[in-house]
Symmetry: C2
């Protein structure tokens, strides 16, 4: 165990920096004495580390507290984490809109921008809309592009580890697109690409309906539902990034598609026509028999798909998002059927973040990346 | 990071012991010089640790190699891990049989015993059969009960972390049974209880069809299929231990049960009557039209259940076990349908361990427990 008792001095310096940053980030500000106490490091070590962090722009001396100054003469110097030392973007690229969230290094959102985009827009046009939204957002917030430390982007489809969309039928020209590489041209920092339902699951766990649970399934309900799952608080992507893509399940039983189930005419709905879907739901609420039957068929399908996920994964909590979250009475049939057929039925709740979930999750993934760089040196943070 | 540079001397001793044991276990025998080189520990430290391990009975001086002795005069003393210093049991408690595997501390199987049991036998009788099998096995192998370091047991049903069967409909009197506690009365060592499909997944990963993959689903196919999944090499139990219990999925579509699907008469099969099932499959092979239609219906159901798991989890590999593993042609339809409907179809293969899978997995879980105690001190082993 030579590595534990001797070891690389530069590694030790990085570990100590991470430990001090971690401590400072958990509080408004702290004196050197307080940092020494919390971290267990020696006073000279803390002084050296804080000096280095100030040089790196990550720590700054906090404004003197005047009341303390008056009472005690010269107060001890206080230091704080500079959350404004860098920024993060969370991007959503969907069929009907692109959206961007901007935050500081604490993950505090300081600006948002969204733009509609035509569902038939080719990939270039969709990405151009996104670039425009990002440029406007940065300009309005007064944040320089060079201040960005990481960008997260979420989109429908199966996304490879390198940011390539392996399969994305919801957006034209999406399958095979090197999305990470394309987005990377606009930024000097790392760009992380994730499936939209996966990102939404992360978002609900961070600041939505799943804050209290580490084992969740998020269902992004639409005509073709997708899902994201956290297991033990970590995103479960699957071996090939395709976990949770339950939209194809109905095909196996040779059942009709959701587009047909939800139709009140002899023609199936267009898979991306959310307004047509909303009309059917509105008609059902107003008592239209044909619409009610269509909605009932759709709910049965949703229950089946969610049950498949629940039986496979056994989560503590299921969060329903996407447009089905706006449905009257989607929760009750889900709870009832899951209680009937699942050996251990999970709690079922609606998304708290609504349409912000996907971009929020993308932002959180960017934040995870930066935190990993700043705070976690060979698991030092995790063990404390 | 005081803990890394200073630290508790007894913890350090345990870490060093674990490191030396780990090194010895990876080889037939080693000299002190070799251990020093492999572990990076100092010669006096290695000498002290080896002495302690000899006192604990875990290490012994290996027999002198005579050829070396002749060549070099007095050869360096060699030491080896005493795999015979303790033993492990892997138990299967199923509807029709109980089985036990006995191994040494290397997981090498040194004996096996199985007994038939009536599917209607009450819990007490079933456990008594198991106790008899274990007693016979230990006696035949000449292993004292006190030599057992851990016992793993696998059984159908949802098993709580404390070894209680939360739900187990396949065996009479099983739901609510404190199985871990009941088994614990026969042993002084820890007893670990696990779901049978989960155990089989672990077994196929250890020494079966899934040795090369860390992301697998094992399907224990029967009239009501269960499944176990490994994610990143680790068993995924689910929040309440119910992950993979896909047998209830067909109920959601209001579909008929597998017992009815597989029947060639107007009466459903008995859920546990494997011989009746075998007859249907045999008749189908002989060309009986009604039996062929029944088998076809059953395979479609199995494909649907497996597809639900695959879409939810996205494994690299699906291993089919249970009695369906004996079916002619279960693989081809599965592969064909998964390729059609899964966005990233996994490889599909048959179990290599057959009916030994469940007990073998239980044994591996017992071995994991012992290795954790012997070799892993705060992750020291994992990092090397």
């Amino acid at each position: 165990m030579a590595g534990l008792t001797g070891g690389d001095p530069s590694l030790l310096r990085r570990i100590n920096s991470a430990v001090v940053l971690h401590a400072l980030r958990a509080t408004d500000s702290a004196t050197l004495t307080e940092i020494t106490r919390v971290t267990g490091l020696s006073r000279p070590t803390v002084e050296g580390v804080v000096e280095g962090l100030i040089e790196a722009g990550l720590v700054v001396e906090a404004a003197a507290d005047e009341s303390t100054a008056r009472r005690q003469g010269r107060p001890a110097r206080r230091f704080r984490f500079r959350a404004e030392a860098g920024h993060l973007l969370g991007l959503e690229i969907g069929p009907h809109r692109v959206a961007a969230l901007l935050s500081d290094l604490d993950g505090r959102v300081i600006g948002a921008q969204a733009k509609d985009v035509d569902e038939n827009a080719p990939a270039d046009e969709r990405l151009e809309r996104l670039r425009t939204a990002v440029a406007e957002l940065l300009r309005r917030a007064g944040v320089a592009r060079g201040s960005l430390r990481a960008v997260g982007a979420a989109t429908p489809g199966i996304v490879e580890a390198d940011g390539t969309v392996r399969l994305g039928t919801a957006l034209p020209g999406w399958t095979g697109l090197g999305l990470g590489e394309r987005l990377g041209r606009s930024f000097k920092c790392p760009v992380l690409v994730e499936n939209d339902a996966n990102a939404a699951a992360v978002a609900e766990h961070w600041k939505g309906a799943a804050r209290e649970s580490d084992d969740i399934v998020f269902v992004l309900a639409g005509l073709s539902p997708g899902a994201g799952a956290l297991i033990g608080g970590r995103l479960h992507r699957g071996y090939g990034g395709a976990a949770g893509e339950i939209g194809a399940l109905h095909l196996l039983g040779r059942d009709v598609t959701p587009e047909t189930l939800l139709s009140t005419t002899d023609q199936p709905l267009h898979p991306l026509d959310e307004q047509a879907v909303a009309r059917v739901f509105a008609e059902a609420r107003e008592g239209d028999e044909r619409a009610r039957a269509a909605v009932e068929r759709y709910l049965q399908r949703l229950v089946h798909d969610v049950a498949a996920l629940v039986l496979a994964l056994d989560p503590e909590l299921v969060v329903i998002g996407g447009w089905a979250a706006g449905l009257d009475g989607v929760l009750e049939p889900l709870r009832r059927e899951l209680a009937r057929y699942c050996l251990r039925p999970p709690r079922v709740t609606l998304s708290l973040l609504g349409e912000a979930a996907v971009a929020t999750g993308a932002l959180r993934l960017a934040l995870d990346h930066v935190e990993e760089q700043l705070f976690a040196v060979e698991g030092a943070t995790a063990r404390r």
